[in-house]
Symmetry: C2
Subunit: 309 residues, 2 copies
Amino acid sequence: MTILGHTDKITVLLNWAANPYHAPLYLAQQLGYFADEGIKVAILEPSDPSDVTEIIGSGKVDLGCKAMIHTIAGAARGFPVTSIGTLLDEPFTGVVYLKSSGTITEDFHSLKGRKIGYVGEFGKVIIDNLTKRYGMTPEDYTAVRVGMNVSDAIIRGVIDAGVGLENIQQVELEEWSKAQGRTADDVGMLRIDELADLGCCCFCSILYIGNDKFIAENPEKVRAFMKAVKRATDFLLENPEKAYNQYVEIKPYLGSDLNRKMFQRSLPYFSKSLENVQRDWTKVVNFSKTLGVVDESFVQNMTNEFLDV
Amino acid sequence: MTILGHTDKITVLLNWAANPYHAPLYLAQQLGYFADEGIKVAILEPSDPSDVTEIIGSGKVDLGCKAMIHTIAGAARGFPVTSIGTLLDEPFTGVVYLKSSGTITEDFHSLKGRKIGYVGEFGKVIIDNLTKRYGMTPEDYTAVRVGMNVSDAIIRGVIDAGVGLENIQQVELEEWSKAQGRTADDVGMLRIDELADLGCCCFCSILYIGNDKFIAENPEKVRAFMKAVKRATDFLLENPEKAYNQYVEIKPYLGSDLNRKMFQRSLPYFSKSLENVQRDWTKVVNFSKTLGVVDESFVQNMTNEFLDV
């Protein structure tokens, strides 16, 4: 029986256009794991990653994925979201650049006078903070908002460097450099964890998140969702090639050599337990306080209560 | 001032992964036309086109795009959506196949015993209906649900033919055939409008749609949205190359030769006035009655009141 205008589909908004590390979500759908848990799921992709916490926090979408630091910042900005698990653990994140361009080196000061690309407003906050740490000011570089097109903007020369992940943007640039007759070694990364003395790239761990009201009202659905993506992750980690080929059946464009390389590079980052790691959260909340993004009273917006552990 | 958990972003769910004919929506965003009208918009992409009317009709997403016949079927299934304009006018739609495969011909009966791919449940309803018209039964062919991967499934041999658009799937197959050393002419299409004696491909016109409650509560936002996409469409039709290059800056993967060809083939289909065409609606509602999708009392769920005409 249909109730007018009612759907029992859970909406899930990805943090990024579907890419190789989103495999567990699509596999859980395709292999019937969501159905086995009695839930229906609609996976949606964003056009602008900066929309994600706002749209989930407002309750317009139920669940999703987002990096830890954005999950914290979203809640601090008045969009009530909570992390319910971890998809990718500490992917290396930093300012990626082409060594052959000759403009940027391993020295952070080489960014002075350069055009640096960032995804959304938050990348700029991080780079601005780093400039202070290195005796520079935010005026010492030109920030260019490039959304999901960091690698493309570097290749086109629109920016000199940009914020990216080791398993995504760095791979894109490496493959492009190789196609130009150079080597993968042409791509450099100024790691943000090292620059900021964080001791981990956990600020960029990609988390499963949910709208607080949705979570409070639908604890069993959230538990079912996490159970299904955990099962898909287990399958993927045991049979990476088979799992990826299955994913490619759903998303044919992810079957390219480039995307297969990104998947290989993403494999070590998949969280096995899907747990939020307390140590990481403490570090990243402290980092967020340093950035002025959250105040002293901030309460960590994460839970592991929906995981079977 | 932020109200806890409130967003003024209008969510817009596309009918398909972002493709060349979605240019007006992305251009309206990128060129600031939405901002000029005082609205904020988040464009979302579906993973399964079959989710769209259900998710918009339930109010989980505000606005979106969908083919006319799905818009009618969605409302008839209890998901209150209304069309507020037209994006693509009557793109040729049919069963696409490769002549060189030697299995399917211009004769509909050649589909007997074949595997035919369809996007969502509705494509199957249409083919099932056609089988009756041609003295066959739905059991005479094998229906394979392939979501957005019709061309890929044909190329991989998973299906013998599938439902697609002249400006999208047919172009994909043509370019693939050419890469195999054959010609574009290798791709055939059994046009559904001809098979079903419709006299137009309007059932597959891609419309702008909205959730009924959202429309009723936000008429000015809906008017602003349509004004911005109209302005973007005007710009695109006057400067197709410039407009497409601008779109590619937002979506670099749409810069491929294949996608540029799809854009060229989509150009004649863009609605200039963005109006819903009464004649088409009458035809398609009648067709929907024939299909048993709506009953005699069905009231056309479209309006042009949000267009400045």
